[in-house]
Symmetry: C2
Subunit: 464 residues, 2 copies
């Protein structure tokens, strides 16, 4: 054990000693303008993929660039061990940079800056996701440099279309399922709990999207001729929207909470202790009062509790000025965030039944589905989770958090459905990293200790 | 009396004998493409004004074309009598004709056709409003031809911007108030009760328009990050919309019905007798069930009862597909049709108070006014009304109806406010005249008996 511990220390010391080189390599990747949504940058995407494959190759991975109908995938294997296997996922593509005028530095000329006394890496993709994926690459580099070999079998998958809808990902995973399947997926594309507290996201809410169109009269009517007697579909829709929520903020659809479990006791207890300022979280966007279920904290409302949200509504005249129209139709886009064992199909049907029961006799309703995914929950006491939590706690000298994500992260569902594999979401980004916005940054500490965190995690995974 | 009656008969006989010429004159006016909204037709509008002034001049009116900032007005006076004075209003401009491909005849090449066994005049403007205004001109022509002089003092006002917002009308009325003011205004721009029953509109609903904007968060939010805890302004707006109506279809705003009177007994009694098929009226636009106040007929709901309608609603993502956004704002355009003595300012304030009481603490609401006009009611037992009803009943051999208009008719408000003058709305159009649509028509009977109706009305007005 003394030997194992001291050799881990040697790997970590190597990380520290080589940090400048690690930053230089990240800068080289950041200089590639791999914007995936704009066809003009397809060559840059290919360049980033080549660059990554070359790096992995240099580390002794069996690495290759795999063409798709869109931007290529990068796959690398280092499977020399007897132990468990992991699949690490990141994406090398980045968001567009406009408006360019708001950038202080050129987005593809990375630089070290300083913010609030912390060193930061400034560039498009510094945080999302080039900086994050490179923490893992650099951890592998240090581990192999000091120990000669990785402690577990590692496959790396880098995607180039994450910011553009991941169109090629599904087919690619299906075609390479046997090759990519591992005991656990590791995804580095999330935030820390706060700047001092590492976290693993083990709960992701699912989603059901529905579009509802209410039709009343066979054509738009003039309210001077029909106003009073004609059914107004906006009024009908308003009545339906109002009926979806109880006055205590809970969702009023029958059976909606049937398959919603309470948080595991140790997670609930941890959330009581962990710093999270709900008032500040809402205050930052100009809100003062949690609007969800009464008696639930803001943290629960945004991560562990299900929701019903109206995401769009439209009907009648919405331009400048006024028209006294009674429209024929009105429509709304409504989504549900799901948790626990809520079944998307069952929730969708319960919603539709709720609406149908409220549509007057001379109106019709049409529904369209917009996606359905169940919530994802990784048992918080599994071996990989327990080891990763311990490794993160060691590195950050602070109890690592079990976290939930209020939104779905599609790759997790894809890995589950297509490869039958759970995912651990471990990331070192901060909420103030300005991802998708001008002046994106990644804390130098996130990068440095992110690398060290992966060294510790891989090391723990390798221990029996 | 025998003399008066027989000379009226002579005028009516003249109308009958000269009908072909009357139709020919209307055709000449219909051939002028006086589309007011399209600047390309400004010359045609001027031409129509000149044509009308010339006709009036030929009848012995002191007629002139009056320039405005838009299309000109035509004013003609025949004030040789001691008796009462009337101001007759019509408009010579017409709606655009597109889509031209749907017209069976060229819109500005008038023709006589046949529909359901009736002869019809086919042309843009045949009904709205050239055919209607010419009924009055031709009545004056016949009266003067047979009797030498009109029985009352007549001023005629023809507008050329009615289909384009009547921008010049207000300033023109203010500038010519002394010249135009009469004992009663006559407006020929409305429908008959049905094809056999003439009517006078004596009640017009007023209107209050309001735009409501609810603001919650300081920016649009992602429902994956904030969904559950963030106040959703669409939900708030839905709750407000739902709160505006009681389950019996009545408006739920406090004090809304305070100044609403019941119909005069003789009108209520007449409405019981008159043919009006509420089910057919709604059925024509695909509706089956009156949506207004329970216990009120469709006719009451659309004319004599006040309403609250949502004319537009908008918030969040309304394009194709789906976005899980929680918008910062949502807005609605809401209007109230007013009756009786409802005060627009009081109704507006009651509505705003109703909304403010329902806006959560961390939301703000902004209101904008979009027009306010009180209801207009001409006492149904006044001298002019009584005489006109009798004249119409004589001509059509059917009791003339006292009618309400569900929508406001701006000219009536203008005459009241700027000239202190009530208006009688007497028209001979039919609901199937396709005004504003391709293949507009005017029943030849409407034209013929419309001329005869005005002869009788003027004659009655001239009797002491």
């Amino acid at each position: 054990m003394a030997d194992s511990s001291s050799s881990l220390d040697a790997v970590l010391a190597h990380v520290d000693a080589q940090l400048d080189d690690s930053v230089e390599r990240l800068f080289a990747l950041l200089r590639i303008a791999s914007i995936s949504t704009d066809p003009a940058y397809a060559g840059e995407c290919r360049k980033a993929a080549d660059w990554l494959a070359n790096e992995l190759d240099g580390l002794g991975f069996d690495a290759s660039v795999r063409p798709t109908e869109g931007h290529p995938m990068v796959v690398g294997h280092d499977k020399s061990q007897d132990g468990p296997s992991v699949l690490f996922y990141g994406h090398y593509d980045v968001q567009p940079v406009d408006p360019l005028s708001l950038w202080v530095h050129e987005p593809f000329e990375p630089a070290i800056g300083e913010e609030n006394g912390r060193k930061v890496i400034l560039a498009r993709g510094a945080s999302d996701d080039k900086g994050q994926l490179m923490t893992f690459v650099e951890a592998c580099r240090a581990y192999k440099a000091v120990r000669g070999a990785l402690p577990v079998n590692v496959t790396v998958l880098f995607e180039g279309e994450e910011e553009a809808g991941s169109r090629s990902l599904g087919p690619f995973l299906e075609a390479t399922a046997d090759e990519l399947k591992a005991d656990m997926a590791l995804v580095c594309d999330t935030d820390m709990w706060d700047s001092e507290t590492p976290s693993i996201v083990t709960m992701l809410r699912g989603l059901v999207g529905e579009e509802v169109v209410i039709t009343a009269a066979s054509r738009d009517l003039h309210s001077g001729m029909y106003g009073g007697a004609a059914r107004n579909p906006i009024q009908v829709l308003g009545d339906i929207v109002a009926s979806l929520r109880n006055s205590d903020g809970s969702v009023a659809i029958e059976g909606f909470y049937d398959d919603v479990a309470e948080l595991p006791a140790h997670v609930a207890e941890q959330w009581q202790r962990l710093p999270f300022d709900g008032a500040a979280y809402l205050g930052e966007v100009g809100l003062g009062e949690p609007a969800g279920e009464r008696g639930r904290s803001v943290l629960e409302q945004i991560t562990s509790r299900p929701t019903c949200e109206i995401n769009g509504i439209s009907g009648g005249y919405t331009g400048d000025g006024f028209k006294t129209v009674i429209p024929s139709q009105a429509s709304a886009k409504i989504s549900f965030r799901l948790v626990g064992n809520q079944d998307p199909a069952k929730i969708r049907e319960a919603f539709r039944a709720h609406v149908r029961a409220r549509v007057p006799a001379d109106c019709s309703v049409a529904f369209s589905s917009h996606g359905a995914s169940p919530a994802t929950t990784i048992p918080a006491d599994g071996t990989f989770v327990t080891k990763a939590l311990a490794a993160l706690t060691d590195e950050w000298n602070k109890e690592a958090a079990i976290a939930g994500s209020g939104g779905s992260i599609p790759i997790v569902g894809d890995f589950k459905r297509k490869l039958g594999m759970d995912s651990l979401l471990i990331g070192f980004a901060q909420t103030d990293d300005r991802i998708h916005s001008p002046n994106e940054k990644y804390n130098l500490e996130s990068y440095h200790r992110g690398i060290r965190s992966w060294v510790r995690i891989l090391d723990r995974f390798g221990q029996t």
